[in-house]
Amino acid sequence: MKKYILIFLLLLIGARLSAQSAYQAKGTVSGSDGAPLAGASVVVKGTSQGVMTDSLGHFRISVPSDTSVLAISFIGYLTKEVRADSREAIDVKLVENASQLTEVMVSIGYQQLPKERATGSFAQIDQQLYNRSVGADIVSRLADVTPGLIFNRGIVKPGSQTNISIRGESTLFAKADPLIVIDNFPYTGDMNAINPNDIESVTVLKDAAAASIWGAQSANGVIVITTKKAAYDQPLRVSLNSNITFSQRPDPYYLPKMSSSEVIDMEQLLFSRGYYRAAETSPNKPALSPVVELLIAARDGRITQQAAADQIDAFRKLDVRDQYAKHLYRSSVNQQYALGMQGGGKTSRFLLSAGFDKNLSAAKGDGFERITLNANQSVSVLKGKAELTTGIYYTNQDALENAVNPSMFNQTSTAAVYPYATFTDAGGAALPLNHYYRNSFLDQAHSQGLLDWTFVPLTEIGLVNNRKRQIDYRINSGLRYTILNGLSAEALLQYTASSSKSRRLQSQNSWAVRDLINRFTSVSEGSITRAVPLGDILDQSFLDVSGYFARGQLNYDRLLAGKHQLTAIAGAEVRDLATKGSSWRAYGYDDQIGSFQQVDYLSNFKSYVNPASASNRIPQYGGITGMTDRFISYYVNAGYTFDGKYIFSASGRRDMSNLFGVNANQKGVPLYSVGLGWNLHHEKFFALRWLPYLKLRATYGYNGNIDRTLAAQVTASYSSAAQSSIGLPYATIRNPPNPDLRWERVRMINLGLDFKTAAGRLSGSIEYFQKKGIDLIGNAPLAPQTGLTSFRGNTAHTSGHGLDLIINSKNLTGKLGWQTQYMLSYAAIKVTKYLPKSSNLRGDYLSTSLGFPTEGRYFNSIYSLPYAGLDPENGDPMGMLDGQVSKNYGALLSVSDLNALIYHGSSRPLVFGGLRNTLSWGGWTLSANVSYRLGYYVRMPSVVYSQVLSGVQAHGDFSRRWQKPGDELHTHVPSLPAASNSNRDLFYTASEALVEKGDHIRLQDLRCSYSWKSARQRAVINDVEIFAYAANLGIIWKKSGTDLDPDFRDSNPPLRSISFGVRANF
């Protein structure tokens, strides 16, 4: 910790160094009523140098010469220009601009644009809205407050960074994450490495005009994050932010399961049928549950039937989920502290911040700590003509991942733990479980001198130490130089490095290690040989990411002849990012002295458990990976506004990458956009007093996306001799030559309308978009004579459209304030071209995995088999085959015509949004956010009888099953079949009976705060806010009649939580 304080202090000293310049201009800015305007911006024209007025409206600024011109602007007022005469005070009166919408600047990562002069589709989250919610990562706060942006729940694409979709899917198989830009450069690292308290604002770029400047990475949308910066000529300000969040304990009963008693009944039934005979004599000695062991003992006369029955009845009252609640879960506590300091002199400004987070997860054993340090400073030199900026961002994360997953208690590798397991006896002493092997076998092993093989849950907890540490740096430097009036050049350089290390130490005392050692033990003539040595097992893995971005850019921004506003940028950038990973395992590790032992990975060993299994190899863990990501790009973006009314914008970008093919790099078509805007309210004929702001926008253009899994050259991957069936290292061809491989393109047309009524009573925007995916990466069938049956290349198309609507209304503006924000987003994207046809409809359409692209359908869709209810005779599920009711499950499942399946619709919400109401009274504010998701379907899980009939605790629908004639009228859960029939199970779980609408409305959160502002100008404390925030409050309405949250069918929903916090500025 000392180290960080030292760095912090050093940076502080550095920040105070500043250069001096010759002339000083000072003055006061006031409104037309004479009241001073605090926070007005005073900029030396043609430079980047500027200051803000203080609370009395005073400013003081250094200027290059007496003849410099100062541009003075303030939100809601017309900008005024004055000569900077240094000899006398300048008093400026600004005139209100009735028609002006709050002058909002949007950041696209290359430049800041006034929103009024932009044509593209931007969604902005300002600091106040961003800080409304509490959370340790930077993107989750965008949920339910950003039009067009949705956090997908359910299946997550492996390797995805965020699981966010902006305006629906833009790709089938390539990277689906939006591009995240932090401080002008793409950020591909860990979302947890950025402290949300350092964020100034977030802009989401949604259409081609907004995003195509990001070229081949922009098709999924771009999220531009700007961190806090200080301003020039600003007194030293210190801010403090602290909050603490408590969540409820996870509910192990959320997912419905069979009761212990129901499972025991099944075990008794199965035992009477001789089901466990095979396991009793199996050479693998699989563990049997305590009930089955009791039944065996009673059968063999080792205990009386009565004694067995009594003990079994005692088991019926137990539930292992009570043990989970007691031993595995707790209420989580997350603490967050942030301290910031900023200030600015005439020619320099600086900001320092430090953050500390400490989370104790709801799963005992998991925890997280994070320290972030952020320092940035700018120095203005050459009389304000040049500005040099440097910044460093440092994060240190330390995570403990020692939570016990209930699967650790599994009875065998294929069967979950018996539901009546208990971890302690009545006296609280830890008890072993029947785990993997039968106790009789364990006793025999013990007598032969093997390590103790029993599994005691409560002593296991804590025997594995899994720790992950990560350090991230980002170092930015930038130089901006004003060449001529309105023309400037800048160079930006970012170096980024991240280093993470995972260390997993499994003690020799842990069951997993003892089990591995024992399985690889051989006993001959009383002497013991251990192929896996005694000692701990240490797994370590390292991942290093380092790279640089460099950018050179020319900026031009000038108002010509009073009517022609021209803004343009052009530049080039280079990016080189290398990822290197390595991992290895040490057997026989002794953490005291750091020694470990060699093992023989190549020989085959006999299993101690089942000597007939002779070809077991010691598990090898380790490898070396490396990825290189390189881009060279050229871009240009220009905007022209005539008379403040008509806006024309255009952008173009050319990307070359080591991921693309030769042809795409050499003669690729650039990605471009064009846009038009019309500020109707500036027109003379448009003089509606009640509608002071009305703007129309239209844009057209292309965004790109890349697929890192493909390569343009012939590629092969090596396998080691140990992986070969003949013991010779070999290579497998992964990719045929594909010199035409290129980025995916998404064409977007966006039409928008922004409005604001008088006094901002009602404001908002409505946007319609059309989105077309062209050259998406997809499969195409090939003649097998080519050596391949399918080819992955730019072969698929999608098409769709949607709507984003946002309306803000000020319902009450008196002492009691009431504001409402309503958001509605609609996005429906369908596959329009996909060449392969499924040859396995059941696997491709009826399982729960990602969808099979199908022309004319949503990519993520839900299909099912027609269901004809339950047979009133015996409760068998019935389907429809060629128009006839059928119970031929094999035939029902091997359907080969896609039209025979019921197509329900999208499995992702087509419509979503939120409604936020804010009430204020004096310093008090109360707000509530309600979110909704509509227009989609989900497949509910249900009972699978092959699990029930193997004595495993299956789904809780078991108790709702058909049991007697007449039950078919009120349940669709089939009866318990006499014998396990997997096709019957598969038919039922794929049937329409289990498909439900997912539509629901959720009370996302509630926030109550009190803020206080000092009345005095130079108070020690400027303002304070204290707040309470409750999140994940639950579902208000849902279409489906089932008990489960439609978005959380296989796992628990996010835990309800409450936070308390304070923010203060000094």
Partner: protein, 453 residues
């Protein structure tokens, strides 16, 4: 701070993009290899499982049978094949067709890649690499021709359809079916190329050698009925390494009789290759044809070394030279002795033919019990040789070709009968069913002509 500082930064950026060619050539993923060296191409050819040969013809042939019960448990394509149905794949794909063309594609990638290396100093390694690739391509084309094209007859070969001869790795172009004559010519010319370039023997027997190229040529010429050329090539290969395993030295009790590594393969093995896996090939789905099993003398060691009996009396085959449950379809000296014996007998050289046969059989019988085969007429010798061929070369993927060529001679005709679920099925000599249909996904994608069935 100087205004000129901006220009060095800008020009550095431009410079960086100027040398972009190298910069852009960096491979995105370390685990991916863009093959450029002999070592890379060798590793691609060492991907043993991509070089498997067709296996479905073994199910259609007369070496193995199955029961009603096990028949139901087979994969659909295996059931269809077993009963010689008209439509084998029912819209599905053919593993045999795809795996052979995958081997062709692999060989073509190597041939095209090695051509780029040829500019560098020529080397034995490069010659070997090319020789391997030609061999693998010939072996795959030959395997395809045995299953998907009719049996070779010199008088019809110009008119009959062979297989598509894909000679480039370009996946966007397809080839029509060549004639049968062109097909065999391509196989032979690939083998000629291979034979010229390759070393005489290999340590890793999954890698081809000159002995293997010659042996495969002997096999191809036999299938073409060119007995003189078959004999010549068999002799040339046997001259390199004509060793035979004495079955008296084997452990007949071992669960698998032969070693399972191409490095320690038995000394008879010239080229270690395997057939595609099918469920049918695993015990207890098949059993050895009872007639075949009964044909061995009690002192014939092959009866113990090749077979084992299950509890229910079914006989399964454990004598694969691959030493695994996957069947051997490579080349071995026993086949060469039999090829040469047959060719010699057919050319009227009875004594040398019998000498070859007896050399082999002596190693197969229990020591002291072997009585050399005697014959006065070449035709008498030929009958024994043909019978021994079936008994020796079990489950090697050779029998199907033998059935197709021997069915043209009245004396050696075979009528295969099946009985499943009380229904009888017959495969008559000369039936169109001896040529497998081409899978539908090939026909629809490349438009090549289907076989009559």
């Amino acid at each position: 701070m100087n205004r000129y500082l901006i220009w060095p930064v800008m020009s550095a950026l431009l410079l960086m993009s100027a040398c972009q060619q190298d910069f852009m050539d960096a491979k995105p993923d370390k685990a991916l290899v863009v093959p450029t060296t002999i070592v890379d191409y060798q590793a691609i050819l060492d991907n043993f499982n991509t070089m498997n040969t067709p296996g479905l013809n073994l199910i259609a042939g007369d070496e193995f049978v199955t029961t009603d019960q096990m028949y139901q448990a087979l994969e659909q394509v295996e059931r269809q094949t077993y009963l010689w149905a008209d439509d084998l794949y029912e819209g599905g794909s053919s593993t045999d067709w795809e795996s052979c063309y995958k081997a062709v594609f692999t060989a073509n990638i190597v041939l095209e890649g090695a051509a780029k290396l040829a500019g560098e100093a020529p080397s034995t390694e490069l010659d070997n690499l090319l020789g391997y690739a030609y061999f693998y391509r010939a072996n795959a084309f030959y395997g395809l021709a045995q299953q998907f094209a009719p049996a070779y007859e010199p008088q019809n070969a110009h008119a009959q359809m062979g297989i598509p001869l894909k000679l480039s790795a370009q996946v966007t172009t397809t080839e029509p079916r060549a004639t049968l004559q062109q097909t065999y010519q391509q196989i032979l010319s690939d083998l000629e190329q291979s034979q010229k370039l390759i070393t005489s023997e290999s340590v890793w027997r999954n890698r081809p050698s000159r002995a293997a190229a010659l042996a495969l040529k002997a096999r191809v010429y036999l299938a073409m009925g060119a007995y003189d050329l078959a004999e010549q090539n068999a002799s040339a290969s046997l001259a390199i390494n004509g060793q035979l395993v004495d079955f008296n030295e084997l452990d007949a009790k071992a669960s698998l009789t032969f070693p399972d590594s191409p490095r320690q393969a038995n000394k008879e093995v010239i080229f270690y290759g395997r057939m595609n896996f099918y469920l049918f090939f695993f015990t207890p789905y098949y059993q050895v044809d009872p007639v075949l099993y009964a044909s061995y003398d009690s002192t014939d060691l092959r009866k113990q070394c090749y077979y084992d009996t299950l509890a229910d009396g079914a006989v399964w085959y454990k004598g694969s030279y691959a030493g695994s449950f996957g069947f051997f379809s490579g080349l071995a000296n026993d086949e060469l002795y039999l090829i040469r014996a047959e060719c010699r007998a057919r050319q009227g050289d009875t004594a040398p033919a019998l000498a070859d046969l007896n050399t082999l059989l002596e190693k197969r019988y229990k020591k002291g019990t072997f009585k050399p085969v005697q014959a006065s007429e070449p035709s008498q010798a030929l009958r024994v040789i043909i019978a021994e061929r079936r008994k020796e070369l079990v489950a090697r993927g050779i029998r199907w070709t033998d059935l197709r060529r021997l069915n043209r001679e009245k004396e050696f005709e075979t009528l295969i009968r099946r009985r499943i679920d009380g229904k009888n099925y017959v495969l008559a000599p000369g039936s169109l069913k001896y040529t497998f249909p081409i899978p539908e996904n090939e026909i629809s994608a490349s438009g090549i002509q289907q076989n009559p069935r």
